[in-house]
Amino acid sequence: MNPFNNRRYVVLGIFLTVSLIFLGRLFYIQVIDDSYKLSAKNQALRYVTQYPVRGLIYDRNNELLVYNEAAYDLMVIPKRIKRLDTLAFCNLLGITDSAFDEKIAKSTSYSRFKASVFEKQIPADEWATISEKLYKFSGFFGEKRTLRKYPKSAAAHVLGYISEATPGDLKKDSYYQKGDYVGKRGLEKEYEKRLRGVRGRKVLLVDVHNRAKGSYMNGKYDTLPIAGENLISTIDRELQMYGEQLMRNKRGSIVAIEPSTGEILSMVSSPGYDPNLLVGRPRSKNYKMLQANDSLNPLFNRSINAMYRPGSIFKLVESLVALDEGVITTETRFRCNRGIIGCHGSHTNDDLVPAIQHSCNPYFWNVFKRLVQRGKYSSIFKDAAYGLNLWQERVKKFGLGVQLKTDLPGLKKGNVPDVAFYNRWYGEYRWAFSTIYSVSIGEGEMLVVPIQMANLAATIANRGYFYEPHLIKSIGADSVKRPEFTIRNETEVDPEYFDPVIEAMYKVVNEDGGTARRARMDSIEVCGKTGTVQNEPWPDHSVFIAFAPRENPKIAIAVYVEYSDFGGTWAAPISSLMIEKYLTGEVKRPEKEKRILDAVFLDIYDGKKEQ
């Protein structure tokens, strides 16, 4: 006899015990405990999602940029439709017979038992009439949703938009359910998790006619929605709208920053669009229309995504780096020898300040040569690699060629060519200063995003440091600011070297013969620098960066106008108007304003410049 034969009883005992426990539990929940029971009359529960209110976005003066408006989704459960008076129903909704058939077929193919959207985003006023009569049509009910609304057409690119969650969204984040709205671009995307809040749910008992009969178990299983957090933006709504107005019929960008904080006062990308177009039922039609406009690309945020050659404004960075590296002093003079590289104006042998003021190309050709060819190695190729490496490290400290931490998704970082870049291009030790000199005047392989230009203006205004430019200064009730926006980024250029550069920028605007005389104002000391980026065979891009006032600057700005020709003619006066608007609250130069408003630079792109 096997000594373990009796163990069969232990095993059987365990089987039996577990089964008896289960039967006891089942008897309890099925027969004794009534709390799990629903009324015998075929009642069912309906789960009604309580959508949270999405957070609002205010501008820096507490003016609303985005708010919510109620709208209703008409839901249907095909299985519960009974004896439907189709004619009356179609009349109520204002749809045709065939549209009705199509929608019902779509819902049915999704599920006969589950609710799906029959008609979405019905505005509140229309809903009032519909909901009164809805009881006659079993199987249909409403679900309250909110739509984004914009009191003024402003900052569409910055705010971005929300749209229905795609299958990809549902997969990526388990929070989302079919039919939810998700921030897709701009601040809506960047702050999605703060804005969206938390869904709630109401459990209702409904009868066979799908009429709610009150809450299930006194709301024990209901959860309240938690509203999303409100955001306070750094944007000045008035200034933003003014900038958009000035840029009308032009292609380009304006970015204005408060230098002392890095707060972005306005960010204009033109052509733009009215954010209200991408809301509600006409959304998909409008979106297609905006998307189809591929020559103007109104959905594209040039301020953070368009990469341009910086042109002459880059001479400011060259000057500062060269001074700090000790390869020039303010007294250093170079002859304006127009052999290799052209120039303009009547100057012959400038030192630094007038060279910036006149934007002397041969001068900066020489400065860059001294920065690149340090004489450290006898081989000019090795020497150039050494010098360029030092140079690009210094330039990147200005926030150029690196991605700024701005709170918008998909910022471009531009390009500051480094040794690896040219090695890829020409091969190792196959290039020297003479190969790459066009970088000295901001042409060639240099690429800069408008926000980086504005940040450069702010950095110079601050004499050597900047805060990451940002759009949201306060999140939620606790007024949180992202910590990365309070860190000072140092250029490591001695502040004293900023004096001659700022002096020159002052002269650019305020002295006879300066390239940006059109930016001059009697009341405000503006410091700036123009740039004109060649664009053969099309008209040049015009660029201007500036800050004001000269002492204790309150605003730094970059304006980039594509295909508009010389920088002083268009970009400078636009900056000047923006500065005036921001600092004084109104513009007192109507004729200047009119000149800008009337200018159109959209068609030029279609035809080449006459040669």
Partner: protein, 435 residues
């Protein structure tokens, strides 16, 4: 030596076969009720899950017939090769498998998919049975136990890599088999003690205990202190016994280590949703819309069935998709809702009858191989029943494993059929096998 001859149909244990038939048919009707589609009312409509299940049932019957036709020595001779093949499949699925719901558990060929972890239970049963049956009377010695453990751990580890926690846990059921074959009974007690400690440790995980003089101790530290005190008392009581000091110290260290290991495993190995489900089950957190949603819905469905149920096809909770996974892991809800307590009682009764019958038949075997195999089958079925039904009524954590014969799915139905009919075949040969 007696000449081997093929068994006759009358040697087959028709009670087990009948129980199998009844359960499979009940399962089919339940899948029909759970996924009923008004536009495809025929239960034979193969565009619907119930039509597909019919195909699985038909192929299962064919499999059963093939098994009954096989040479009875087939299973003991091929135990290791079959096991090896299963291991190969488990490795292959990690490489070329398809990921469904985050686990790489499926082979898919066109519209057909197959889960190798299901059939691996069969292969592992055969290998373990074969190994244990070659041992002498006693199942002892460290090496023997390690080898037996290795047979189990290899497939379990591979399944854990998929990861499919539910299928891994099924391997714990073999503890009953080894217990029956002479593994120390303490193993059951240690297992039970471990489970109790596990629960207590997790319950204390989130509590702090305030002592006088403003001393606040985390619950687990308090637990260790209390266990330490008990050890001291025990030591004082029994210090006359030789070596007792080391035994007590050893147990203290093992228990303390275990408590912290539980904590570590819970926080670092389990995934967020698994933590939430365990917290929900232990009542540490309650969230009927989140982790507790499935169980809450499932209990409403079962509870709403009352004593006599709402009737065939009349279930509203399961039909309106309140209950998730209603055709697979939560199929028991449909039984509960449409057939009430009468239905759940019947199903559990039939399963218990089947388990008892398998054990009784196993015990009448002359061949050790057949007996051990019978215990494997019973243990696997029991484990599936306990976890699956326990889950739907809130007595076990939510672990996705199928209810035998009821949950929709070809892989699981085939594997349960093969498991069971292999045993029926062995039993039908019992008269012709010498001890």
């Amino acid at each position: 030596m007696m000449e081997r001859r093929s068994s006759r149909w009358s040697d087959i244990d028709w009670i087990i076969v009948s129980l199998y038939g009844i359960l499979v048919l009940m399962g089919w009707f339940n899948i029909y009720a759970a996924t009923f589609n008004e536009e495809h009312q025929s239960i034979f409509d193969i565009s619907q899950l119930y039509g597909k299940q019919m195909l699985w049932i038909a192929t299962s019957c064919f499999l059963a017939w093939v098994i009954l036709m096989l040479d009875p020595r087939f299973f003991s001779r091929l135990a290791y090769p079959i096991y090896g093949f299963c291991i190969f499949l488990l490795i292959a699925v990690l490489v070329v498998g398809t990921e469904i719901k985050g686990a790489k558990s499926w082979f898919t060929f066109g519209g057909f998919s197959f889960q190798p972890s299901e059939i691996a239970k069969f292969g592992t049963s055969l290998a373990l049975t074969f190994y244990l049956s070659t041992l002498g009377k006693r199942f002892s010695g460290l090496l023997t136990r390690l080898k037996a453990m290795l047979i189990l751990i290899l497939p379990a580890a591979l399944i854990l890599l998929q990861p499919d926690t539910g299928s891994v846990l099924v391997y714990a059921s073999f503890i009953f088999v080894m217990y029956r074959e002479g593994l120390s009974g303490n193993i059951l007690l240690i297992g039970l003690g471990g489970a109790v400690l596990f629960v207590v440790a997790l319950l204390l995980n989130t509590t702090t205990i305030e002592l006088p003089y403003d001393i606040v101790l985390p619950g687990q530290t308090m637990m260790v202190v209390v266990i330490g005190l008990i050890c001291l008392v025990l030591y004082a009581q029994f210090k006359k016994i030789k070596q007792v000091k080391w035994v007590i110290l050893g147990s203290f260290l093992v228990i303390t280590g275990y408590i912290f290991a539980v904590n570590y495993a819970f926080n670092n190995i389990l995934q967020k949703h698994q933590q939430a489900r365990i917290n929900e089950l232990l009542g540490i957190e309650s969230d009927p819309t989140g982790a507790g949603y499935n169980v809450h819905q499932s209990m409403i469905a079962i509870g709403s069935g009352g004593g006599f149920g709402k009737g065939f096809l009349q279930g509203t909770q399961t039909k309106y998709d309140f209950v998730p996974e209603q055709s697979t892991d939560f199929i028991f809800c449909t039984v509960g809702e449409e057939w009430g307590f009468i239905g759940t009682f019947t199903v559990i009764f039939l399963f218990v009858y089947l388990l008892f019958r398998i054990i009784i038949v196993a015990e009448r075997q002359r061949s050790k191989f057949s007996r051990i195999y019978g215990y494997c089958v019973a243990s696997i079925f029991f484990f599936h029943l306990a976890i699956n039904v326990g889950m739907t009524i809130g007595l076990a954590p939510v672990i996705g494993i199928p209810l035998p014969f009821f949950s929709y799915g070809g892989s699981s139905l085939w594997s349960f059929t093969i498991l069971l009919f292999t045993f029926i075949k062995m039993d039908s040969e019992r008269m012709h096998i010498l001890r």
